[in-house]
């Protein structure tokens, strides 16, 4: 059992640890040198120079010092009512130490300055904040008049002289101060999620990055998209950014930009990924195999093979194939798929449940979507014919003439050929006729014996065929007379019978 007193003690301890941690992490860490604005004697006795101070701070930052820049200190100096950087006393130093946790304060004076000549005289001293002792000092003077390049070829600029002054002034500073320069913050990208990688213009793109940062939190963190900068915000373990893709097609890089302004003047750029703006729908082509060309549309008998082809190298992520009747928007078959297109589709003239469809014209529509979501489609007409043409033979006898007409009923596809054989009662071939294309014939025979027979074969271009073999030609007139006779027989009374 835990007593109430010990529980309270534990609570108090936990609260203490929590407050300690909060305090520890609230304090700015790692700052080493506060660079105060420089006094500028070249302007006036009370002149202030921030530009040179900033340049010096930049140089120190490059050298690996953690620097508090003059701009950050000015509000604090104003709060402490310091009239000039040359009026720093122990109280101010202590306050600056408390505020910035810096070990040193750099105090500088611009002794002389002329940007045209160029001329620069700097006097710098470094004050240790916790002991209020001057620990380092130096003076440098650089003038263009003392600069004598070889053959007078190079002109020295003020920036050159400033750089050289800093190099000469702070040479060996780290060693003298015994400062273990803290390495600049480091960053590692563990995971990048950029989606979609292919997008239509003005659509939303999102980027999630999982980072590991060693050092203080950066002052600027975002993605550079070339023409604009989008800040990243933290959500869970990820840093997120959203933006609208540009209208223009093309491939766009995404770079991570991370910047520490306080302490270091460090900016790191890391390439993350690229995304593509694609506004063009995929150009699809549907090639038809195992079908015969007809003037109206390709026709097939058993099955048709449809092979899709992409005209441009687009990546298809989704597709849908549908079969519609000639007139109507309700699909008979609808099949969807993800990923790449299959190399071929085969349709056997059936509906979704496998039942044979009636012959006729159908529309096959293939829709595809690329990664950006652009939709492309292609529709083709197909004629499905599974039965042979219907043939009719009609014979009419007029006197000695026998008129035989052959007729093939309406058929969706053209005929490939036909054969007609007319034979007598004994099977002798009397006439043979062959032809191609549509048949609508009437043959007239004279002086032919009765009891004729015929064989008729018709075949369409798909191979559907009808064969009428060894059929009797029964002329309509004769048949009618015979029928009449029989009727007469039946109606008349024969007395001899």
């Amino acid at each position: 059992m835990v007593s109430k007193g010990s529980l309270n003690k534990f609570k108090g301890l936990a609260l203490g640890i929590l407050i300690f941690w909060m305090f520890l992490f609230r304090a700015p860490v790692g700052a080493q040198v506060i660079v105060l604005p420089f006094e500028d004697l070249s302007r006036s006795l009370n002149g202030i120079n921030i530009e040179i101070a900033r340049a010096v701070a930049d140089y120190l930052a490059e050298e690996g010092f953690q620097v508090i820049y003059p701009e950050e200190v000015i509000p604090e100096l104003a709060r402490l009512r310091v009239k000039s950087p040359g009026w720093i006393d122990q109280v101010v130093t202590r306050e600056l130490l408390k505020r910035f946790r810096a070990k040193y304060i750099l105090l500088g004076t611009v002794l002389e300055m002329d940007k045209k000549e160029p001329l620069l005289g700097l006097s710098v001293r470094i004050l240790e904040t916790d002991t209020f002792r001057l620990v380092w000092g130096g003076t440098v003077s650089f003038t263009g008049k003392d600069w004598h390049p070889f053959l007078g070829l190079k002109q020295i600029t003020f920036e050159d002289s400033l750089r050289q002054s800093c190099e000469s002034l702070f040479a060996g500073l780290k060693e003298e101060l015994g400062v273990q320069a803290v390495p600049p913050p480091a960053i590692a990208v563990d995971e990048i999620l950029l989606r979609p990688r292919s997008v239509r213009g003005e659509e939303k793109v999102e980027c999630a990055v999982r980072l590991r940062i060693s050092g203080p939190p950066p002052d600027k963190l975002g993605v550079d998209l070339g023409k604009r900068f989008v800040p990243l915000f933290k959500q869970g373990p990820y840093y997120l950014a959203f933006w609208k893709a540009p209208k223009e097609e093309g491939r766009y890089p995404v770079n991570l930009v991370i910047r520490w302004e306080k302490g270091w003047q460090v900016e790191k750029r890391l390439f993350l990924a690229t995304y593509r703006v694609d506004n063009t729908p995929p150009a699809i082509e549907l090639r038809i195999y195992k079908a015969r060309k007809t003037p109206e549309a390709p026709a097939f008998k058993n099955y048709v093979e449809l092979r899709p082809f992409l005209r441009n190298p687009d990546k298809v992520v989704r597709w849908m194939i549908q079969v519609f009747p000639e007139k109507g928007d309700r699909p008979i078959i609808s099949q969807k798929g993800m990923g790449n297109l299959p190399p071929r589709f085969i349709w056997r003239g059936t509906d979704g449940s496998g039942r044979k469809l009636p012959e006729g014209i159908y529309r096959v529509r293939l829709k595809v979507w690329d990664e950006a979501g652009n939709e492309g489609w292609k529709e083709s007409k197909l004629i499905y014919v599974s039965s042979p043409p219907v043939a009719k033979v009609k014979a009419v006898k007029e006197g000695e003439k026998l008129k035989v007409s052959f007729k093939v009923g309406p058929h969706p596809v053209p005929l490939r050929g036909w054969t007609l054989e007319i034979m007598d009662e004994n099977g002798r071939l009397l006439k043979e006729l062959k032809g191609e294309g549509p048949i609508e014939k009437e043959l007239v025979f004279e002086n032919l014996p009765s009891g004729l027979r015929y064989s008729f074969r018709v075949r369409d271009i798909l191979g559907n065929r009808v064969v009428l073999r060894n059929r009797r030609i029964v002329p309509l007139v004769m048949q009618a007379k015979e029928e009449k006779k029989e009727k007469v027989k039946a109606e008349e009374w024969v007395s001899e019978f």
Partner: protein, 191 residues
């Protein structure tokens, strides 16, 4: 013939470039080896504005660079303000003594700039540099040092100083070096 002529030119250069260091006037019976000092603002008696302040900063930074313990100028300014002593106006013995107590320094450094001229790339600087003992406020040692940028010319144009700040730095460096050599200023860390 030409070789002789060249030798003559080099000799002339060496003679013209030779310049003595600062001559220090040292009071007798003074404690040597002072390490901790305060620097009073230098009095400017020239027409050139800011040269007193310039020299003060140069003296502070050069002394710190040499390893001396120097009281921060801001604290000295505050002290002088509190004591109602305008910077660079006065340094009575009582004030020097008080500074010793206040800042724990053994000596107070000050001076007067008497000459600061610049014409083209010709510069000239003259100043009086003194060190006073904080025990009694008396003069310990000092020098009046006047130099021109030309004095530092070595060969052709090399070595010549063309800026007042550059000349001030060089002159103060020489004074501090000489004082160190003569053990007037001495710190353990700097030796």
């Amino acid at each position: 013939m030409s070789f002789k002529w060249l030798t003559g030119v080099v000799l002339l250069m060496c003679v013209s470039c030779s310049g003595g260091g600062p001559e220090l006037r040292i009071a007798v019976n003074r404690e040597p080896g002072i390490c901790k000092v305060a620097v009073l603002p230098f009095i400017n008696q020239t027409d050139r504005e800011g040269v007193g302040e310039m020299l003060t900063r140069v003296v502070i930074s050069e002394m710190v660079k040499s390893g001396l313990e120097v009281a921060e100028e801001g604290a000295i300014k505050k002290f002088l303000e509190r004591e109602r002593c305008a910077p660079g106006r006065c340094a009575p013995a009582t004030l020097v003594k008080k500074m010793g107590q206040e800042f724990g320094v053994k000596a107070v450094v000050g001076g007067v700039v008497t000459e600061a001229r610049q014409v083209g790339d010709q510069v000239k600087l003259g100043f009086f540099f003194w060190v006073k003992d904080t025990r009694d406020g008396h003069f310990m040692w000092g020098t009046y040092y006047v130099r021109e940028g030309e004095d530092y010319r070595k060969v052709f144009h090399f070595g010549k100083i063309s800026s007042i700040s550059g000349l001030a730095r060089k002159m103060v460096e020489e004074i501090v070096e000489t004082s160190m050599e003569r053990s007037l200023f001495r710190c353990r860390v700097s030796s």
